[in-house]
């Protein structure tokens, strides 16, 4: 895992523990994780519930500060970068978005421009054009003036991705972007992400529970268990029945699916 010249986003021996109120005790969430993400790659973070996927994403996004270790972006330490500067390179797509107020889709997307503006600066025609472009490339331009809360799950997630695109990032960090979507929307969002990755050369890091989705989209997989990185490498090498058992305590059948064109995972039984 030496950092090659194409390496873009790197986690160096990251550890994080959530503080517990009152007692001073801590719950370790990520322990000593090192991970180098190559520019333009599509990396999947896999692991059981509570393995630290979301925490690792938040650490890489700079939302959480590591207890020890560091994150570098193009060789610069994230801790030394102003938040806004980091946000001009990295955007986060959460699993669900529940705004407390009735923003329109366009308003949500325009908020992606925040790191490019001064705190009291209003967005101008240039920002509006970028927002329109982002809505267009996610197929949501016709929803621009609809209240976000009135949209379907798939439409919402596409608007949230549009909002992340309006940030004009080099890296998208996605936390189970398809988890709350039905099969049709899952494929739709997956196709969108694949296209963005290829056409816009956006580096993707995606936490997911969906092994088949990961197999279809990711060229690299990182496997996490109990906050530790247990495997990291090319999807074809890492996605094996041995590793699925190691991760989830589940016997699974992993095969190449001809018509889908990627590995597929069929869980068979729980072991242990």
């Amino acid at each position: 895992m030496s950092s090659s010249s194409s390496t873009y986003l790197v986690a160096h021996e990251l550890s994080y523990a959530y503080p517990r109120r009152g007692k001073g005790a801590v719950v370790p969430a990520v322990s000593d994780v090192s991970l180098a993400v190559a520019r333009g790659s599509f990396t999947g973070l896999l692991g059981p519930n509570g393995c630290g996927k979301t925490t690792l994403l938040k650490l890489m996004a700079g939302v959480l500060r590591p207890v020890s270790g560091s994150v570098t972006l193009e060789g610069r330490s994230l801790a030394d970068m102003p938040r806004r500067a980091a946000a001009r390179h990295m955007a986060v797509v959460p699993q669900d978005t529940h705004p407390a107020f009735d923003y329109t889709a366009l308003e949500i997307v325009l908020m992606g421009r925040h790191p490019h503006l001064h705190p009291t600066q209003l967005e101008g025609p240039g920002d509006l054009a970028i927002a329109h472009q982002s809505l267009e490339s996610t197929g949501t331009l016709h929803l621009a003036h609809r209240p976000f809360t009135s949209l379907s799950g798939g439409e919402r997630q596409r608007v949230v991705i549009a909002s992340a695109l309006a940030q004009q990032p080099d890296v998208l960090l996605l936390d189970e972007p398809t988890a709350s979507l039905d099969l049709g929307y899952q494929l739709e969002v997956a196709a969108l992400l694949r296209r963005l990755s290829r056409e816009h050369d956006v580096t993707m890091v995606m936490a997911t529970h969906d092994l088949n989705l990961a197999a279809s989209m990711c060229d690299t997989l990182a496997l996490l268990r109990d906050g530790r990185l247990v495997r990291h490498g090319a999807t074809a090498q890492v996605l094996t029945s041995d590793n699925v058992r190691r991760l989830y305590d589940v016997d699974a059948d992993v095969q190449f699916h001809q018509s889908a064109g990627h590995l597929t995972v069929t869980p068979v039984r729980r072991v242990g």
């Binding site: 996004a61 938040r83 978005t97 923003y103 329109t104 925040h114 003036h145």
Partner: protein, 349 residues
């Protein structure tokens, strides 16, 4: 659905228009309304006044009844209404954004209960607390408000940690109940005349008795407003999702602290001046959002201006509805605000 459908519903919203022109339009619209209200309101009342005579400098003030009514009875009341209305409505917007809860009010976190307890103690136990331009009751209510805010802040806050809005809400609600119990206890110990005076204060009233109390409250509200100006963009992002806001470069912890501090300051100043006038802080932001949408950069200034308009108008009703009897404006806002609040609950629940 295209843009025109929604802009037709909300004439000022027009989210198709660039933010700059929406902001200018909104401030011009609500600003005009506020100015007209503040100019007209002093001219109306239980006794009609002759404006030409009131402004006639050749008549000595001591014998000019019209001028006395205008400058002593009505003008301070209108200005106090504008200041308190603007402060409570904008503090409502900021508290709602901070708590990510559109049903929050400036009084949700116990600031007004603290202020009320302070005022009760002075009214009932007596003693003088006058500090600088502040007379005893406002000074005590200010101290109580500060104490309540400090307690809630300490409970919900840790070092460099995002405030827990759940803890904030629970602490606020509990503190409200606890301080209310103390208020009742203090009243139980008092005689009837004191209790009547205390109850009157708790209703909220703009009969502040001159310009001096307004000038005393003004710096607090002005300081809060100076902080408010820098908050709306960050509040917008935090209203979507606090983690996403943080990922976009918003310093969530700092924004929460400034929001809590400034909104508490504005609320304290308003309550010290006029007592706890209810419902402004929730009715006004909601009406404004119906008209202009949810962008805090527009909602915040619009609410401040409309809050001033709304409270001055309510006070005009309070002065004239049962004339010559003047009812405390808090009763009017509660009678309008109570049913409105229920309607909101049903609508949003």
């Amino acid at each position: 659905m295209d843009a025109t459908t929604h802009t037709a519903l909300a004439p000022l919203a027009g989210s198709g228009r660039p933010i700059r022109s929406r902001l200018v339009l909104t401030i011009a619209g609500f600003g005009t309304l506020a100015i007209v209200t503040c100019v007209v309101a002093p001219l109306l009342g239980s006794s009609s006044i002759n404006l030409r005579r009131a402004l006639d400098a050749s008549i000595p003030f001591a014998t000019n009844v019209d001028a006395q009514i205008l400058f002593i009875a009505r003008l301070p009341r209108v200005l106090a209404g504008a200041l308190v209305g603007a402060a409570l409505a904008s503090a409502g917007v900021v508290f709602q954004a901070l708590l990510r809860n559109p049903l929050a009010t400036p009084f949700t976190l116990g600031v007004s209960a603290g202020a009320s307890l302070g005022a009760m103690l002075v009214i009932i136990l007596g003693g003088t607390l006058a500090v600088g331009p502040w007379s005893s009751v406002p000074a005590a209510s200010l101290a109580g408000a500060g104490l309540a805010a400090a307690i809630v802040y300490a409970l919900a806050n840790g070092p460099r940690r995002v405030m827990s809005t759940t803890v904030l809400l629970l602490a606020g609600v509990t503190l409200n109940a606890f301080f209310s119990a103390l208020i009742v206890f203090v009243q139980y110990l008092a005689d009837f005349a004191e209790v009547a005076r205390a109850a009157r204060w708790l209703m909220g009233d703009l009969d502040v008795g001159g310009f001096r109390p307004i000038l005393a409250a003004l710096p607090l509200v002005a300081a809060a407003a100076a902080i408010f100006v820098r908050l709306p963009a960050a509040l917008n992002l935090m209203g979507v999702d606090t983690d996403s806001a943080s990922a976009r470069g918003v310093d969530v912890v700092a924004t929460q602290r400034w929001a809590f501090f400034s909104a508490s300051l504005a609320t304290s100043g308003a309550v010290a001046l006029a007592g706890p006038i209810g419902f402004i802080g929730i009715v006004v932001p909601h009406l404004v959002r119906l008209l202009v949408g949810s962008d805090h950069r527009i909602v915040l200034p619009a609410s401040a201006l409309f809050g001033a308009t709304f409270l001055v108008a309510c006070d005009l009703l309070a002065r004239t509805l049962l004339a010559p009897v003047e009812i405390p404006v808090g009763i009017v806002t509660a009678i309008i605000g109570g049913p409105f609040f229920l309607w909101l609950l049903v609508r949003e629940g």
